[in-house]
Symmetry: C2
Subunit: 199 residues, 2 copies
């Protein structure tokens, strides 16, 4: 990685961290520079303005997570395996600040057309990915063709963002853990309805 | 209604409207007074402080909507009828500013223990209500006993709040309409699995 790319990535990482820990309204160029331990000028060397940086940071964390989700779910064909993979990926979304940063951007983007266009494009990308997973999961089960996959993927995105909001409100992650536990028997049931070679 | 109760309700209504249209951060006593067309002093005659008012406004809109949800869903026993009732109630949640105000309070309450305690209590109340509806809906179907009703109610709350966030981002209600349409055939399927006397 070149020095220039390295610095750029450091700025992107600091932006995600600042969004995740301080929230959208407080994520100024100065706050990002403080988080990353560099001069604010570094930001404007790499990015046009703050919105440009916020969009690049969203794309950066989204690309990283999408790659990781793709790899980790590639062989999780059974519902039980997929649930275990998603639980692990969710824990990573939390640990990397991804989910908190994205939720802040979704909420904060409302005032700006450029920002909200960019955020909507990312939401669509994740809906596409979720839909693909869901179609693969239900293939061969009695639910294939019954569950409207695009709508279900849209509902899943809303659920994921709302869960993060409620988790902030709770001040702990117990809500997500309760839901992952409750989903276990349902995943087992789905696997029982369509046993696959790999289960 | 006494003059005093009338004024109190006017302040509560103005608070819900201000939260819904201007967002949490901008909902000051002055902004609420401007919305309602009264002097800011009126607020402090009826409420201890802004947090006290915000909590009372949450309880006010929540009580109103809970009463309406209870009445409207009381006889909607079949899934198709319940879906139609929920679609209508959701449109009212939008029109009254309820859903927008609640979403603002859930997001904004994070910084204050008193506020977040109050918001969490309301979230629990709605989860209780949703769980009751869900248990009644699935009773007699093959899904009764399979779907963990508490967890499903918690997931539904997260979905409801996340949907509002994404609707803000979209700038229109098309996302909710898509989901209500997609749910139609699934409700019909559920009714086919357990035909009830009233369908």
């Amino acid at each position: 990685m070149s020095r220039r790319t390295e610095t750029r990535e450091r700025v992107l990482r600091a932006t995600v961290d600042t969004l995740a820990t301080q929230g959208y309204a407080t994520t100024t160029a100065r706050a990002i520079a403080t988080t990353g331990g560099f001069a604010p000028g570094v930001i404007y060397y790499h990015f046009e303005d703050l919105e440009d940086l916020l969009l690049a940071a969203l794309r950066y964390t989204s690309d990283n997570r999408m790659e990781r989700y793709s790899i980790r779910t590639a062989n999780a064909l059974a519902a039980g395996d997929l649930l275990a993979a998603l639980h692990e990926l969710y824990a990573e979304d939390v640990a990397t600040g991804h989910i908190a940063a994205v939720q802040e951007l979704v909420a904060g983007a409302v005032g700006s057309t450029r920002l909200s266009d960019g955020v909507r494009a990312e939401v669509r990308r994740w809906e596409d990915f979720t839909e693909t997973l869901l179609v693969r999961l239900l293939d061969g089960t009695p639910l294939a063709g019954l569950v409207p996959s695009r709508a279900a993927a849209m509902a899943a995105m809303a659920f994921y963002l709302g869960l993060e909001m409620l988790t902030h409100l709770d001040g702990n992650r117990s809500r997500a853990e309760t839901l992952f536990s409750a989903a276990g028997p349902m995943a087992a049931l789905l696997d029982a309805l369509a046993p696959r070679g790999d289960t």
